[in-house]
Symmetry: C2
Subunit: 327 residues, 2 copies
Amino acid sequence: MSLRGVPTAEVFQRAVDGERRALGRLLTLVERGGAAGDEIAEISHPKAGRCHVVGLTGAPGAGKSTITGRLAAAAGVATGDSHRGVGVVAIDPSSPITGGAILGDRIRMDEVIDREGTFVRSMATRGSSGGLALAVPGAIRVLDSVDYNPVIIETVGVGQVEVDIAGTADTTIVVVTPGWGDAVQANKAGLLEVADIFVVNKAERPGAADARRDLELMLDLGAHPEPGKPIWRAPIVMTTATDGIGIDDLWSEVENHREWLTETGELNARRQSRDRFEMLGRIDELLGAIGRARAQSPVGEQLLKRVESRELSPTAAAAELLADLLE
Amino acid sequence: MSLRGVPTAEVFQRAVDGERRALGRLLTLVERGGAAGDEIAEISHPKAGRCHVVGLTGAPGAGKSTITGRLAAAAGVATGDSHRGVGVVAIDPSSPITGGAILGDRIRMDEVIDREGTFVRSMATRGSSGGLALAVPGAIRVLDSVDYNPVIIETVGVGQVEVDIAGTADTTIVVVTPGWGDAVQANKAGLLEVADIFVVNKAERPGAADARRDLELMLDLGAHPEPGKPIWRAPIVMTTATDGIGIDDLWSEVENHREWLTETGELNARRQSRDRFEMLGRIDELLGAIGRARAQSPVGEQLLKRVESRELSPTAAAAELLADLLE
């Protein structure tokens, strides 16, 4: 039976009652945005705010999907019946270049963990960082509000958008592999900044000890304690995720970090910054619609003609179009 | 002698006079944005609008940098003394994953073509598609206004942002290689839509004829002539760019396409859509600043607190913050 036409509030109630298809439908509507997405945000927001959000990022091929699958299983065992299960939101790339490989990973992961008690959802980025910045917190909120806990957000690469999204989690795991240093040179600092826990995966390979030493050195160099701010030094966990080695240690470190967040008040700070991030995204979305409407108005079209005749630069035209808002 | 502190108008004049360092400085300021960037847009806009803009996109590893280098050389020979030279804007990825390889490409290309008569500029994406959408047309405008023609824009991959940027060119070249079909499955339609010319590079490899046949088939399937709209069927050029094979054919097709654009009036239509694209980008930039200012205002902070207490969803808070603009 299709859920099309069923009122959103009822779909939500069915998801609360445990109907997985209803939950899937909610997530589709959230990803799609628009009025239904807004309604779901209204319904789910008061019920959310309980789950622990774990972000997982790292270069493609580092084994993130396998780690996510194993970690979800470990988390499910650890939390037992205290919650409905573990939620996973996997960000699929808009870039089609690596599409095949990533789809392969996804299937592998789904085999491991898409079963009763774990809910896996893939989200396409559709080339829009703005869209993702809204869809991901919306999906977390839905899973949270129907009592999935923890929720793991797995991003596909280490681009700035993906690091930003992983970085809004309560606990962010950065996955590297032996020899990673050269591969992600350009964004090392960005990764270091967001990492609460490092994983050296494929730790059975040559160079794993070197990778660990590199990370330790970076952590030493990057340690700039701010007065009054509690200090957390990211632990480094060695794993061979394909064989499940090190996954229990990783889950222990997630639990340690969660305790630290709670004790120090950092948890509230992170959630505040996540709320701020999402609110800014919503503001951008609304303003974007205003901008497009103005650009398509007769005044906007006239300004565009003056740009074409090289009388006005696009910058000057935009400023003139928004003059009343700019004071 | 540094150009810091030299008035922008004078830097511009020096660039017009052929000082390459002054041109580099202008492009740096354009990329950086802000008041100096705006001033350069004002100075250069009336003088621009002459150059032919060629976009070049394709999956990493397809040989785009080599093709760009060879094509720039061919264009330089063809246009001779009628213009100052050939401009190249190469978009470097923000994603650090492939950083090493792409830097390697860049160095290779620079060796080939960064000499008197050709001006090569790399631009980092800095993870911001919005930033690129503004910086690229700004860079084209500067190169155009000091009489570089053509200007080649080389993007790094086939993600939506990159395809969008390449797609705003007058002539867009899409580079594929034997076996490309599986690799870029997800965005085939997007690539087909923007391509004015296809290149099958590494045409000496097995599968090149198949790649060509695939493209022909896609072009047949995708042919939906719109009434009253002139038809251009993208030619397919086979190249082995490392040996310079097929590059003259490619340049001929660029010239054919330019003639077609001019004869059919499509050139004006494309430039209008490029102006519109940039104006929308500037509008977004200005509105973004308004949004951030409001979010940081006392009212914005208060709304954020209500989000945190789960009284308001971020969506509702954003709508309340912008209520006066939304009517």
